[in-house]
C-alpha cells in the first residue's frame, strides 16, 4: 500500500503498459519475442526524446506544436549537408541539433518576449519549419545511406540500438534536471503559478526560454535518431508527431495546465503509444479498427489512473 501511494501513479501507468503487452501476447503468436522488443526499442528513440522535451514545456505551462516540423527541418538540413555537401556525420549532426535548438529558442523568445501564447507561436513555427524543410530539400527525400546508420545500430553486446540508450539517457537526464536542480524546481514553480514566482523575486523568463530551447534541441536530436533509422532524410519527417508526443506526455500524467509532471512517466506513455501501434500492426488490424482501438486505449489509460486515485482516496 505504501509503495502504491508513493509511486502509485508510476505503478498505475506501468500496469496499463504491461496489460497491453500481455493482451497482444495473447492475440498474436509472435508478439512476445525478443524481436518485437528490439523493434520497439528501435522505433521509439525519436518520439522519446521529443516527448521528454515536451514534458518540460507542458510542466512550465506552455505547449510546443512545432516539434514535428522542427524534426523535419533538422532532418532536411542533415540530408542536405551529408548528401549534397558531403559533410561527415560528426560535423553535420551537431549542426542539425543546433538547427533544432535555434527553432526552440525562437519559440521561447517570442513566447516570453512578446507574451504571445506558446500555442500560436509554435503553430506558426510548425508551418515555417515545414516550409523551410521543403525549401532546403526541394521536397525530395535525401538518401543518406550507411554513413548515418551507426546511431541506429545495436550497442555491442545488447539487442538494443545505441539510439535507444541515448534516448533513455535523455529521459533520465531531464528527470534529474527536473527533480534535483534549481532550474527544475523553478520550472515546476513557474508552471504552478508564474505570477507567484515573479512575486518571489525570480525572473521566470530565462527558465521559460530555456525550456523551449531544450525542447527544440530534443527535436534536433530526435531528427538524428529518425534519420539513422531510415538511412535517409525526409522533409516530411515528423509530421503529426506533436500530437503523438503530447498524447504520450499526457498519458504519462503530466498536466496540460502546468506545474505537474514527470519525464519518466512520459517514457512509459511513449511505450504505451508505441506498443499499441506495434501490436495492432502485428495482428493486422484493419485501419478503422486501429483508429478506434487507439482512441479507446488512450481514454482507458487515463481512466485507469483516475480510478486508482479515487480508490486510494486522493482528491482528484
Amino acid at each position: 500500500m505504501k509503495i502504491l501511494k508513493d509511486h502509485g501513479d508510476t505503478v498505475g501507468i506501468l500496469a496499463v503498459w504491461i496489460l497491453l503487452v500481455l493482451l497482444f501476447g495473447v492475440l498474436s503468436d509472435h508478439f512476445l519475442s525478443a524481436n518485437t522488443l528490439t523493434t520497439l526499442a528501435g522505433r521509439i528513440p525519436a518520439l522519446t526524446v521529443i516527448a521528454a522535451g515536451m514534458t518540460l514545456v507542458l510542466i512550465v505551462g506552455g505547449i510546443d506544436l512545432s516539434v514535428g516540423s522542427v524534426l523535419g527541418l533538422s532532418s532536411a538540413v542533415l540530408g542536405l549537408l551529408m548528401v549534397d555537401w558531403k559533410v561527415p556525420l560528426v560535423i553535420s549532426a551537431p549542426i542539425a541539433i543546433v538547427v533544432g535548438m535555434l527553432a526552440g529558442t525562437v519559440n521561447g523568445l517570442f513566447t516570453v518576449g512578446l507574451r504571445i501564447p506558446s500555442f500560436l507561436v509554435t503553430l506558426g513555427m510548425l508551418e515555417i519549419c515545414r516550409g523551410a524543410a521543403y525549401l532546403v530539400t526541394r521536397s525530395q527525400t535525401k538518401y543518406i545511406g550507411a554513413s548515418v546508420e551507426p546511431l541506429a545500430s545495436m550497442l555491442p553486446g545488447t539487442t538494443f540500438p545505441i539510439s535507444f540508450f541515448l534516448s533513455v539517457g535523455v529521459v533520465v537526464g531531464l528527470q534529474v534536471l527536473l527533480e534535483k536542480t534549481i532550474l527544475g524546481r523553478h520550472i515546476v514553480a513557474i508552471g504552478t503559478n508564474e505570477h507567484a514566482v515573479r512575486l518571489a523575486g525570480i525572473d521566470p523568463r530565462p527558465a521559460k526560454i530555456l525550456v523551449f530551447l531544450v525542447c527544440g534541441t530534443c527535436a534536433g536530436v530526435g531528427s538524428l535518431f529518425h534519420c539513422a533509422r531510415l538511412g535517409s532524410a525526409d522533409p516530411n519527417a515528423g509530421s503529426g508527431m506533436e500530437l503523438a508526443a503530447i498524447a504520450a506526455v499526457v498519458i504519462g500524467g503530466t498536466s496540460l495546465l502546468g506545474g505537474r509532471g514527470s519525464v519518466i512517466k512520459t517514457f512509459i506513455g511513449v511505450l504505451i503509444v508505441a506498443t499499441l501501434e506495434a501490436g495492432l500492426a502485428q495482428i493486422g488490424a484493419s485501419e478503422p479498427l486501429k483508429r478506434v482501438v487507439t482512441g479507446a486505449v488512450i481514454i482507458a489509460a487515463v481512466s485507469v489512473d483516475v480510478f486508482r486515485r479515487r480508490c486510494i482516496g486522493e482528491n482528484v
Binding site: 525526409d234 519527417a237 501501434e277 484493419s286
Partner: protein, 299 residues
C-alpha cells in the same frame, strides 16, 4: 555481408505468411487494393496467410518502416510492399531481406540507384504513373486548342507518384502546346484542392482545364468549377478511377481518369511472392496496365 537466402527451402509446417504493406488505407485506392488481396486470400485460404497493414499518415513513412520491422518480428515469409517513399525505406527492406524475408515491390517503384548502392534486387510489379498521366493529359489536350491556359493540382510534393503523374501531365501539356499557368499542391485532399481551384479560377478567367493528380482532388475541383459557374468551359481530369467519379465521368463533369487496376495490383504481388516461395525463380519487373477511362468506357 548479406546471407544468401535459400528461397527453395521448403516451408516447413505452416502455410507461408505474406504481409501486405501499403500506404494509407484511408485512401480508396489502397483500400481497394487491400480488398482485392483479401478476396484472393479468401479463395486460397489453404495456400497462405495474409496480414494487411497501412499507414495512418500518408507522409510519415517512418511508420512504414515500423511496419516492415514489425512484420519481420512477426516472422512472415514475404513482404509485399507499396512504398510510401522510394528511397527512404530501402534500408529497412534490406534488413528484412537480411533476416530472410522475401520482398516484392508493388505500385511505386523503389529507386534503382539506391537499390544498386545497397546491393539489392527487388522485383517490381506496378503501373507507370507517368504513362497514365500522360494518357489523361493527351485526352484533354485533344479537347482544347493550342495555347489554352491549364492548371495542375499536385498531390503531396514529396510523394513519388505525385511527381510522376505531374511530370506526365506536364509533358502532355507541353507536347500539345498548352500554357500551364499554375501548379499547386492540393495535398491529395478534396477540400484543399477545392480552395486552390477556387483561387485559380478567380485568378485566371481564361482557364480551360484543371488536371488533378488524384480523383479525390478532382472531386473538390469539380465542386469549385461548378460554384464558379464555369462547368461548361473548364475540363477536369483525375487519376485512380475511384467509385465516386464514376457518375461524374458519365455526366461529363470529369472528362478523364486513369484506372491502375488497384484491386489486381496486390494480387499480382502476392502471386509472385507465392511462386518464388514455392521455389520458382525470381521474375523480372512487370509493368501493369494503366487504362484511360473516359465517358465511353465508364462503368
Amino acid at each position: 555481408a548479406p546471407k544468401e537466402v535459400d528461397h527453395n527451402a521448403p516451408v516447413t509446417g505452416k502455410t507461408p505468411c505474406i504481409a501486405l504493406i501499403m500506404k494509407s488505407l484511408a485512401n480508396e485506392f489502397f483500400s481497394t487494393m487491400a480488398e482485392g488481396a483479401r478476396k484472393h486470400h479468401n479463395d486460397n485460404k489453404k495456400t497462405y496467410d495474409l496480414v494487411v497493414n497501412g499507414m495512418k499518415n500518408e507522409t510519415d513513412f517512418s511508420e512504414q518502416v515500423t511496419l516492415i520491422e514489425q512484420m519481420v518480428a512477426r516472422s512472415v515469409q514475404s513482404i509485399v510492399i507499396a512504398p510510401a517513399d522510394s528511397k527512404a525505406i530501402i534500408p529497412a527492406l534490406k534488413r528484412a531481406r537480411d533476416a530472410g524475408v522475401l520482398v516484392i515491390n508493388i505500385d511505386n517503384r523503389l529507386d534503382p540507384n539506391v537499390l544498386i548502392e545497397v546491393g539489392l534486387t527487388i522485383p517490381f510489379v506496378g503501373p507507370d504513373n507517368w504513362e497514365g498521366a500522360k494518357k489523361a493529359g493527351e485526352a484533354v489536350a485533344r479537347m482544347l486548342t493550342k495555347g489554352d491556359s491549364v492548371a495542375i493540382v499536385e498531390g503531396i510534393p514529396t510523394a513519388m507518384n505525385s511527381q510522376e503523374r505531374c511530370r506526365g501531365l506536364r509533358d502532355a501539356m507541353n507536347d500539345a502546346g498548352m500554357n500551364i499557368v499554375s501548379s499547386q499542391s492540393g495535398q491529395w485532399e478534396m477540400e484543399k484542392a477545392n480552395s486552390i481551384a477556387a483561387a485559380m479560377l478567380s485568378e485566371y478567367p481564361s482557364l480551360k482545364a484543371i488536371l488533378c493528380a488524384n480523383d479525390s482532388m478532382a472531386l473538390g475541383v469539380v465542386a469549385a468549377v461548378a460554384a464558379s459557374g464555369r462547368s461548361a468551359d473548364v475540363k477536369v481530369t483525375g487519376f485512380d478511377n475511384t467509385s465516386a467519379v464514376g457518375e461524374m465521368i458519365v455526366n461529363g463533369r470529369i472528362v478523364a481518369t486513369v484506372d491502375q487496376h488497384g484491386d489486381q495490383l496486390a494480387v499480382h504481388g502476392i502471386e509472385i511472392a507465392l511462386s518464388v516461395l514455392a521455389g520458382n525463380s525470381t521474375p523480372k519487373d512487370t509493368t501493369t496496365a494503366v487504362d484511360l477511362v473516359m465517358r465511353k468506357d465508364a462503368r
